[in-house]
Every structure is written in structure tokens, then in C-alpha cells.
Amino acid sequence: MSEKPVLYHWEPNANSGKPMLALEEKGVAYDSVYIDMLEFDQHRPDYLEINPMGTIPAMVHDGHLLNESTAIMEYVDARFDGPKLRPDDAAKRWKMRWWMKYCDQYYAPSASMVAWDMFTGPAVRNKDPDELRARIEAIPLRERRIAWTKAIYGQFSEEELAESRRRVMIASALFEDNLRENDWVAGDQFSLADINAFNLVYILPHMADTMRLPSVSVERTPRTMKWLQRMYQRPSIRRTWAHSRGGMHIDIEAEANREFV
């Protein structure tokens, strides 16, 4: 046995949701520290002392700081006893990693650019302008500084946003196609790739109208909707979403028992 990991996270979705769900699936108890991203808690000095990159999520375990949500998930599976969350077969493991990268570097950044432009930016924009400027200056990573500046001041260009929407449509179609032969993303076994994708895909059916992005729906992507249902039936989702402070505004019970005609 080792010490309990401490996980610094925001709402249990997107990148924060990945290690949370992996820990729950693995059956590992952890100390949860909620970092309010909309209050820029991740750039405050006390958090930067723990994670100088100022990113969330981050995990402290055995005296080590770990960041990069997908790599943390692999750490969780490798480090702790519990159900295997990665296939043993090398080719399937390659497939699992390929899909996680596709989500991390293509599907999720595109969806989140649209979401940041429509929700995250406006959610923080009404703060005091001087305070906002100071908060942006406190962001240690240049990439994150640019991203926050664009979101807060609504600086994503029409072209960038249109390209992101196009990419979400392409990625959701490819994801649907991949479920043609198997129940799970990397094959016949539930894996970290399902956890990774869930944290991005679950919101898309609910935002089809508000984001004007009809990517995931019963009509367009029926297999993805059934995969989402299989995910909602896992007890780990309920336990992970209990950490939400903003309210996830999704009825897990209804999603888990959705009837498909």
C-alpha cells in the first residue's frame, strides 16, 4: 500500500475528468482538491508552488508531481492494483493511445474552442477589467496565456471557429465509425481511451443546439449514443460527478436508461 494520491482538479469533465474517472474505475481512494478554473485558482501562488505549470489537473503521489491528464491516467493504471484499464495486446494498446492523442490534439481542442468562445469566455468576461488583466499576466505558460486572452476577449476569429466546428463534425463521424465493430474505443475491452473520450463527447449531444453544432445525436451517431449509455451505466461516473460544484446538469439516470427506438 502507498499513500493516497492527491488530485487537483476542476469540474469533473474535460481534462480534469480523465484522472478522476480513471482513479474511480481503478478503485483508488484519493484526496480531492477542487481548483476553480473560472476564478483562476490554478494561477495563484499557492497552487503554482505545487504545480509551477499552472495547469489542471495535477496529481501528487509518492512525492512526485504529475501533470498531463492522459499520462496521469496511464500512471494510475500502471501504479495501482485494480481492474486493468489498458489492453495487454500491443496492437490494441497502440490503438488506445492513438485515439487518446486524436481526442487530446484534434477532437477536444476543436470542441473546446467553440465552448470557450461561447461559455467560458463570457463566464469570466464580466469581472473587473484590471483584475482580468492581472489574472492573465499571472499565467505561467505562454500557450495558456494566449488561449485565455482569446477566450476572455472573444478573439477567436470566425475562420478559426468555423474550422473547429468542421473538425468536430469530422472527428465525431470517425469516432462513430470506429464503434462499428466494437463496443469500446480500443476494441472489445473498456480502456483509458473510453474515459478520455467520454470527458469530451458526453457534452456534445446536449450542446448541439446551444453551440449550433449537431455532431453527436441519435440520428447522426447512434453507436456513439449507445456507447455513451454504456458509459453512464458505470458507477464510476456517478461517484466522479459527485465532485461537481457547478452541477453537471445532466440526468445520469435518464442517460443510463435511455430507450432507443
Binding site: E74, A78, A90, R93, Y106, A147
Partner: protein
């Protein structure tokens, strides 16, 4: 039967060739002229993952019935499928270090090297347009990456790429200044292989290193990796090449 399909010895191809040699795995090389890329790549389109590549069309490793691409994941595939000699730390934290570093290599360094390589070496010129404009085997992003290589590279893109490579060299040097022989400590690993493929072009003169500070610890480490027989053998397989690679992260 194991075949590595390459468009010349690009940094990703070099990393895979080194790993195969380190593992003692026999393989043959299929060289594909970059002009033949669309047709050659179309032959792999039955794998949806390979068809939707983010890194670039080649290298692709065909290992028996399995085809894999995306160089860092190919390195991990090889270590998963052929565990000896082991090229990853045995502990979870060491494995996390490898993967966190690989993310940085793939997302920041590789796009930057591709940008500089295309600007300084590739020289596809106007011919690229005719060959790639209607290359339906490629995703639209990959077609765009090739078509952009037909145009002169902007000063902004070059400056941004140099900045990213500066981050890479600083990070690697910082890992080595304590005197450890390899990036992760006492054991040679996939991190050394992946990093060597990125650093080597600037030290063998393939790419212009002007304005980039390469620290002493990093230079000594490069010599140590270069001296390995597996690396020497990989370097003789094909000429260095630089082609349109992964796009720079769109968020900045």
C-alpha cells in the same frame, strides 16, 4: 516479416529505426519518394487510424499483420510487443516521465522541426501543388500541410519554430546537467531515442542551428547516443529528409 515504410530518414523514421535496432529486430526498409506519397499512403487506408494520421503519412511500420504509425506510439508498441531489452523504466513514475516528455516532443518540437526542415531543406516547390491538390487519400489537414510547403515559409513561423526548439533544448539540457548519462537517469530509454531524432539534425548540420543554444550537457549526451551501434546502423539506412509534419497547436 517486418517492413518500415519511409519517405527518407525523417526524424520520426529515425526514431523507429533506432528502436528496432536496439531491440535486435530484423526489418526491411521500403523507400517512398515523397512525390509518390498519396498513392503509397492510399494502400494503408483500411486502417482508419493510419488514414487519419496527425503526424504525417510516413513512417508506417508493418509488423506481421499489424500496421502502426505515429512514431512515439510505434516506439511504445515495440516495447510492449518485444519487451527485451527493456527501453522503458519499470516503474509507473518513470513511464509517466516518458509519456509527458513525448507529448512535448510531438506537440511542440516535431511541428517546429518540420517547419524549419521544409523551409531549409525540402524544396518541393510548385510541383507539390499539382501532386497534392487532389490527393483524396489524405485528410484535408494533411493536404493543406503539403500545399503550404509549396509556399515560402513566413518569418513568423520560423521564429515561432525556433522558440519552440529553444524550449526543447533548454528542457533536455536541464534534465542532463546533474551529470546523469541519460534523460531519465541511469538507464537509456525511449526518451533518449525520441529526443535524439529531434536534436541530431541540428548537430549533424542537416538543419541550421544558428541562434539556438545547445548546452554542453546536451552535446555530450548527443555524442553518447550517437556512439551506440544501433544508432549508427540506423543512420546509414537512408538520407536525412524533412517533410511537412504535424501542424502547430491551433490554440497557440
Amino acid at each position: 516479416m517486418r517492413t518500415l515504410h519511409i519517405n527518407g530518414m525523417t526524424p520520426p523514421a529515425l526514431a523507429i529505426a533506432i528502436a528496432l535496432n536496439e531491440k535486435g529486430l530484423a526489418f526491411s526498409i521500403t523507400q517512398i519518394d515523397w512525390r509518390e506519397t498519396p498513392a503509397a499512403f492510399a494502400r494503408f487506408s483500411d486502417s482508419p487510424e493510419i488514414a487519419a494520421t496527425l503526424e504525417g503519412e510516413f513512417p508506417i511500420l508493418v509488423d506481421g499483420m499489424t500496421a502502426v504509425s505515429d512514431s512515439y506510439f510505434v516506439l511504445e508498441y515495440l516495447d510492449d510487443a518485444y519487451p527485451t531489452p527493456r527501453l522503458r523504466p519499470s516503474d509507473a513514475y518513470g513511464q509517466w516521465q516518458l509519456q509527458a516528455l513525448a507529448r512535448f516532443f510531438g506537440e511542440r518540437a516535431l511541428p517546429a522541426i518540420s517547419t524549419l526542415g521544409v523551409a531549409q531543406v525540402f524544396g518541393g516547390g510548385a510541383a507539390v501543388k499539382a501532386l497534392f491538390e487532389n490527393a483524396t487519400a489524405l485528410t484535408s489537414e494533411r493536404r493543406d500541410a503539403w500545399l503550404a510547403a509549396a509556399e515560402p515559409t513566413s518569418e513568423n513561423a520560423i521564429e515561432e519554430s525556433r522558440r519552440k526548439l529553444g524550449l526543447l533544448f533548454d528542457r533536455l539540457d536541464a534534465m542532463l546537467v546533474g551529470g546523469q548519462p541519460w534523460l531519465l537517469g541511469q538507464d537509456y530509454s525511449l526518451s533518449d531515442i525520441a529526443a535524439f531524432a529531434l536534436v541530431h539534425p541540428f548537430l549533424d548540420g542537416s538543419l541550421d542551428a544558428e541562434g539556438l543554444a545547445i548546452g554542453e550537457a546536451l552535446r555530450l549526451w548527443h555524442e553518447r547516443v550517437l556512439a551506440r551501434p544501433a544508432v549508427q546502423a540506423a543512420l546509414t539506412l537512408a538520407k536525412p529528409a524533412f517533410l511537412p509534419g504535424p501542424e502547430h497547436a491551433r490554440w497557440g
